[in-house]
Point group: C2
Chain length 419, copies 2
């Protein structure tokens, strides 16, 4: 299967992009006749896709179900009772809905942490996206043993999964997983070279509790003593990090995941992006789940990331738009072990075609600024992931079926949760 | 001209909406045969349109031209030199571009403050939107006399303008307009019953300077002594307001305009929305100009408004989604003297049809939450303003011409500004 994107705008010039298999194989003037599919790029701008480095995809089913509450009220009385009623079918259709929303908004990869994993796997296989699926662990949860069991089952069939799927070990957080579990996760991550995905220092409550319980150590310091921090670690949130924490994170090569909308919506705090980048910490971008966002748009996330970087820096100069754009694309891709996030020969064929005539992209003094501050889902026309066209001119196959089934599952779930 | 929107979802039920002339004339089961145009609403949700209560529409031409700088560097070295080179044709095409972007994102009205007003008027007349166009005054500007002159010319031909256009008197701010000017503006606003549009207490610099120069009075207190504050006054920004200021604003019936994205992007500060609403202050929503945003999407603005309301309240409970939605719709419309912002019989026919199958609107536990936190431009299908269909299924007449000319003007402007 080969694709030619003809006469598309790339880095300010018109050119052709060739895709063979799942790779970008050439850029420059090329002959139509050599390709299975030719896409007319005349009115399009080719840009890298987005890589969403922290989410809980099936939570789309809870979008708008409960907002604007104190954290524990929100979790205890709304989110957890609903989650307790989730079935594998809900996870499947919730993730299908998430995938569809991500494709529409130009995202081709997500780093997921949830449960009932066979539903997630099926949805990712069928959607055509890339994902890292976390084998979830939570020692504090009533379903602790079920989580371990389904992680094991998935691990045992890892060789049968699409190459677009990676597995990670995903202990929920330091306040829900004990030392033994965290050490074992670190060992598994090292032994098999897989990612370790964990919430780190999301709230001041977590930060202070850790210091109390672990001899004055911050969450980052504590995790470091357990051997959890490495270049395979994705530290979701990492909002409350002190200078010494940043030094550890940079030295270990940990990938922090900035989730600015969620951090404001739940009032978790302001990640010090400017300082983290200056200290050499690897930062990526994520949307978190839709319950605390409430969409999966990396456009929204970039805009709010830039605004939060100013707030945290107490200056209109926070992170620059090129830095924000990079954490949403290349940094996320490369941290996730994907040779992607830039459109060049030899990279994985993950490409977004934007409508060059979108009002939000006009005029084009600075395309990256327009992408960070102005663009939204409506600018995305066509999405290619792993050399396959997932959306063409706004059309995704099977969309109506996904919407219908997601609605049905959400309805049943609400009845069960309230009943 | 009459329109029937058939079988559309409105307030959770399917119904028909009748439009005759510029009014909503009936809601309920109606007969197709009686209408000039029938829109199939089967896959749509009808919602009120947005009312953007503070912007500088022609600044679309400067979108992405300069970002992320200290305010005075940004103004002195980038924005003002470019603005000095603007011609009437730029204003026309810049405003056409702004109107197109607003229509795409469901906005039917904007409250504008800029100059070279004949360009703005032409663009609004042709776009079909509603607007209040400010007769701009700035005693500190080199073009002071030109501003006065063009305001006068526009005022003299006010009876020839479309009924969709209102004129306001628009002194820039207390630090650029002297007492005499401000008093005269207040008199004109009272005498003719027109709006008075002014930047108020946008930055701490302005706040502190006012206290120094005016015997310890805040900008709101100072304006009150000049008689500037009334139910016709739109106080753009009003970020830095103390308890006494809020009491004055509430007592005078002033309409404050919250511009949360701009306030973060320029690091102006956090408007205390929860407190202002609790004190009975009338608050509306605006995008500010695209140089400090950088789009005109009221979806972005609502999401960030909610997030800022939490920050300012230091709690995950800030303003509730119904309150945020209201300031973007009904509150803005009614403050602007428009009998609109709600879809009911007898109101002006300003209606947005959303794509009910948008992933961002699925599932629909709470439509208003989905609109505030999840939706974006891509959810908007059809826009009706003043009983006229401005966009149908994503299509706006003349769009390509606007994009092309806006690009051309932006290019010439940059060459002139840099040259």
């Amino acid at each position: 299967m080969s694709i030619l994107i003809k006469q598309v705008e790339l880095n300010g010039k018109r050119t052709d992009i060739a895709i063979e298999g799942n790779l970008i194989t050439d850029i420059g003037p090329l002959d139509d006749a050599c390709f299975d599919t030719v896409i007319d790029g005349s009115y399009s701008i080719a840009v890298p896709a987005f890589y969403n480095c922290h989410t809980h995809s099936p939570m789309t089913l809870l979008r708008g179900y409960a907002d604007d509450m104190e954290l524990m009220d929100w979790l205890n009385n709304h989110i957890w009772p609903a989650e307790a009623k989730l079935q594998e079918e809900d996870i499947y259709w919730g993730t299908r809905l998430a995938c569809m929303e991500m494709i529409h908004s130009g995202t081709v990869y997500f780093n997921d942490m949830y449960f009932l994993l066979s539903g997630t796997v099926r949805a990712v296989e069928e959607s055509g996206l890339r994902a890292t699926i976390g084998m979830f662990l939570n020692d504090a949860a009533p379903n602790r043993d079920m989580f371990i069991q389904e992680g094991k089952e998935l691990w045992n069939r890892r060789d049968t999964l699409s190459k677009r799927i990676q597995l990670s070990i995903a202990p929920h957080a330091i306040y829900t997983c004990n030392e033994k579990t965290l050490r074992e996760c670190a060992e598994m991550s090292e032994k098999y070279g897989i990612q370790l995905h964990i919430h780190v220092s999301e709230t001041m409550f977590e930060f202070n509790q850790c210091k109390e319980q672990h001899g004055g150590m911050t969450p980052v310091e504590y995790l470091d003593t357990l051997g959890v921090l490495s270049e395979r670690t994705f530290a979701a949130h990492s909002v409350h990090v002190r200078d010494h924490d940043m030094e550890i994170l940079a030295a270990r090569g940990v990938h922090c995941v900035f989730n600015p909308v969620s951090n404001l919506k739940l009032m978790s705090g302001l990640l010090p992006l400017r300082k983290m980048l200056d200290k050499g910490v690897s930062v990526t971008l994520g949307t978190d789940g839709t319950s605390s966002n409430n969409n999966l748009s990396m456009f929204d996330e970039m805009k709010v990331a830039s605004l939060v970087s100013k707030l945290a820096n107490n200056s209109p100069i926070g992170a620059q738009v090129d830095e924000i754009y990079k954490i949403a694309t290349q940094a996320g891709a490369e941290a996730s072990g994907l040779n992607a996030g830039v459109i060049e020969k030899g990279r994985l064929a993950d490409i977004v075609l934007l409508d060059a005539n979108s009002p939000q992209l006009t005029p084009s003094h600075n395309l990256v600024s327009n992408l960070v501050y102005s663009a939204d889902t409506s600018c995305v026309k066509t999405v290619i992931c792993d050399g396959r066209i997932l959306m063409r001119d706004g059309f995704i196959e099977g969309e109506a079926e996904v919407i219908e089934n997601a609605r049905r599952c959400a309805k049943r779930l609400m009845a069960a949760a309230r009943g």
